[in-house]
Symmetry: C2
Subunit: 272 residues, 2 copies
């Protein structure tokens, strides 16, 4: 039996409920973050906490618990579930609103599920299909995945594993991952109107003697110049992108640079 | 005690709960509609039902109940609550998702609250402040009100009662109401990338010997030519707009044409 934490109280999974007056249900109003644990260790906790508190602030959601209390709440949940390799999602909602519109005292819901990043995906990679969409409040990790979920049939019909948003030709991100491409001696990732992923941030800090790693505006036509591409996220680490819109990237196989960065990321995570 | 219907079962308000695995909470994924009852009669039921079923279809939410079953569910709730003048919101969510991403069997939540449209607002009106924002999936009545709720402090700071979205200068709508303006011998309402309100639809059907009532692209600068403006919704019927961005519309008082249409709408509702 998995346990779920609601406002720091633990409930059995099938008893973890909230009132329907919650603003997340009424108005899609909430933020969250997601981190993974590896062998019982929380990976990049500080980065996720920073983003979580910032997301709450951006949506005017008052938080009355400190980072320490949040951290302890997560470790309590981990102790109860005893699942050393896991993903933990913590959602902050608009709370039980009197009129279904005004923000109330937020509810904090923490859900832990068994999870390990695939060790084979670095060799199998993923294909993407592009779609013109600018996420609203892009820098805030809101619970809004309307487009992403609505587009699932579109993704399948196009033989892809995920969608890559662009805004009028300018690349943005996947719904749950950031995008990178390798071009000549540069490793580039979109810089504007995206959610800045924690893994993305780690990759941007890497140093490489042959490549400049940096944020940049990237257009759809720039993809023709890509020798490699990959996506990053807490659940994927680094995953090679083999094709976009049916067009092969480079030689259509996981690239050398991608594999190098992957190794570096694995080492960084192991040092946590 | 108010009762709430969840999947056609009635619960006391403080016991009406859903599991936190619901996709509305996890991913803001859901649609809804809202109708009012006047003296126990449902107003414009067919229009609301049409839009509800269409919204569900647009978000790939399977509905396994007929309109008749939905109608009976609403009347059961009305019988239990015995609140002849009310607003009834019916929400359809993405359901209890196994992985927090895939659509499951939707949950239907119906909430009834005592409500009567203000009879004085036609004389007091409202001020609006504009904001550049295009609602995603604009023609679908999703539960997404992230921007609307986030902008509440902005609206107050600007001394306004609500926000009027425009997209790069092209007028769209208020978060919960449609916009109209009167200009020379025309009564105009934005036609593109908006939610087509039920009340808006009724006004568009009105006939007037002096004015042509029609959909049109309207820009922010067109507002300078407006002699009157008003907003429409199920909760407001027709409400005069006295000023936008601090600039008076016409003589800054509820207009003659607005009052005429208001009377016509009241009669149309009374005929239901």
């Amino acid at each position: 039996m998995t346990y779920i934490s609601i406002n720091f109280e633990l409930f059995k999974e099938d008893e973890a409920k909230i009132l329907v007056s919650d603003l997340a249900l009424q108005r899609g109003y909430g933020i969250f973050d997601f981190l993974k644990t590896v062998k019982g260790k929380i990976i990049f906790a500080e980065d996720h906490f920073n983003r979580f508190y910032n997301s709450a602030k951006e949506l005017n959601l008052p938080i009355d618990f400190s980072r320490e209390v949040l951290f302890n709440g997560i470790t309590d949940l981990m102790a109860k579930n005893n699942t050393p390799n896991s993903g933990i999602k913590f959602i902050l909602t608009g709370g039980y609103s009197e009129d279904g519109y005004a923000i109330a005292k937020p509810n904090l819901i923490m859900i832990q599920n068994p999870f390990e990043v695939s060790k084979t995906a670095i060799n199998t990679g993923i294909k993407l299909v592009t779609y013109n969409h600018q996420r609203q409040l892009a820098t805030v990790k809101t619970i809004d995945y309307l487009q992403a979920i609505r587009l699932q049939p579109f993704i399948k019909e196009n033989g892809a594993g995920d969608v890559l948003y662009h805004h009028d030709g300018f690349l943005r991100e996947c719904p749950r991952a950031n995008f990178f491409m390798v071009k000549e001696n540069e490793i580039l990732t979109p810089k504007t109107a995206i959610l800045k992923g924690v893994t993305r941030g780690k990759v941007l800090l890497f140093e490489n003697e042959n490549y400049l790693i940096k944020e940049s505006d990237i257009t759809l036509t720039d993809l023709e110049l890509a020798t490699e591409a990959f996506i990053t996220s807490s659940t994927k680490n680094i995953m090679p992108v083999l094709a976009i819109d049916g067009k092969q990237i480079g030689d259509g196989k996981p690239g050398k640079v991608t594999k190098l960065l992957y190794q570096k990321l694995i080492e960084t995570i192991a040092q946590q």
